[in-house]
């Protein structure tokens, strides 16, 4: 490793920024800052996707992950609260224990993964190259990702569209589009839960 390739330096820089942003999300309590950092995290990962040759994924992540997700979360934050309350230490330590055990198990499995950029790994050798070779003659389209997404795996993409439709339907059923959103109050066992809390504070 006498001459380090410049893309490796770029990768390491982007990874370092991702770690810093994710750590800030863990530590911060202002919801506005957390939501915006989530957008920054998506944008940084989109930049890394470009470096990893996944240009289609990069612009989808930049548009959907950094754009629409951030807008949805800002809207939800405006309808709810601005600040997260502090978490008791006991719960933090319990979560830290679970996460450490899970992380250790995953680190143990790293040895079985193919080397970074290995062209002959099982993931890269057979099906991926077959799709590239077939796209040249079957579907005369330069972009292999588009060809696989819209043609070879067209039913999968159709299912994805159904999922989006169902999500939209679910949101309409949950929030309502008739102008009564936020006015309905649940009364489990005849008790108004939100009012009882309003009297206390």
């Amino acid at each position: 490793m006498s001459n380090v390739p410049p893309t490796l330096i770029l990768d390491i820089g982007l990874m370092a920024m991702l770690v810093v942003v994710a750590f800030s999300v863990v530590r911060l309590r202002s919801l506005f800052a957390i939501v915006m950092l989530q957008g920054v995290y998506s944008l940084l990962s989109a930049a890394w996707f470009v470096s990893l040759d996944a240009v289609d994924v990069a612009f989808t992540e930049a548009a959907v992950g950094a754009g629409i997700s951030t807008v949805l979360m800002l809207g939800a934050m405006l309808l709810t609260e601005r600040e997260a309350k502090p978490v008791p230490l006991q719960k933090q330590l319990g979560s830290l224990f679970i996460v450490t055990v899970t992380g250790m198990a995953l680190f143990y499995a790293i040895g079985d993964m193919p080397a970074f950029g290995d062209a002959h790994s099982a993931a890269n050798a057979y099906l991926g190259t077959d799709y590239i070779a077939a796209t040249k003659t079957d579907i005369i389209l330069p972009n292999v990702v588009t060809a696989v997404l819209a043609s070879y795996r067209g039913f999968d993409t159709f299912g994805e569209t159904v999922v989006i439709f169902m999500a939209g339907l679910g949101i309409v059923l949950l929030l309502g589009l008739n102008g009564h959103a936020g006015k309905w109050r649940a009364q489990p066992k005849g008790q108004d839960v939100s009012n009882s809390r309003g009297d206390k504070s």
Partner: protein, 146 residues
Amino acid sequence: MNGLLEHFNYAVVIFLMMLGLYVVFASNNMIKKLVGLSVFQTSVFLLYISLGKVTGGQPPIIAEEDLHAATDGGHDVVAEGAHQAADIIYSNPLPHVLILTAIVVGVATLAIGLALVVRIREVYGTIEEDEIDALDYERNLEGAAK
């Protein structure tokens, strides 16, 4: 040392995943929980995409001369095209397709989750999990019977 260099991306991605998972477990605030889920999800995308990277590869968009060489009949032209195709290395397009679907489905689940949080806030007046538990317990909606 060599093994570490070959696998450094997985180590970093797993660390990012665990940071996201920690936010999901440790925070009481539901919006922060969803942000943690989002960070976790994006880290899984990074894992898949870094798996499909080929050293010295190009994005899986076929070069124009390569595409024409493969389609413009003629045996020697095809042979020439095959020769060119051997020169150009493309990264694996399959993880990209899977993750494109996952990103879109991810934003759908996030939207449903946020709608649920807004509804919970309307009914309970709070989005902190422990306060909702306390309200449920106080009003005998869940847990010990009176």
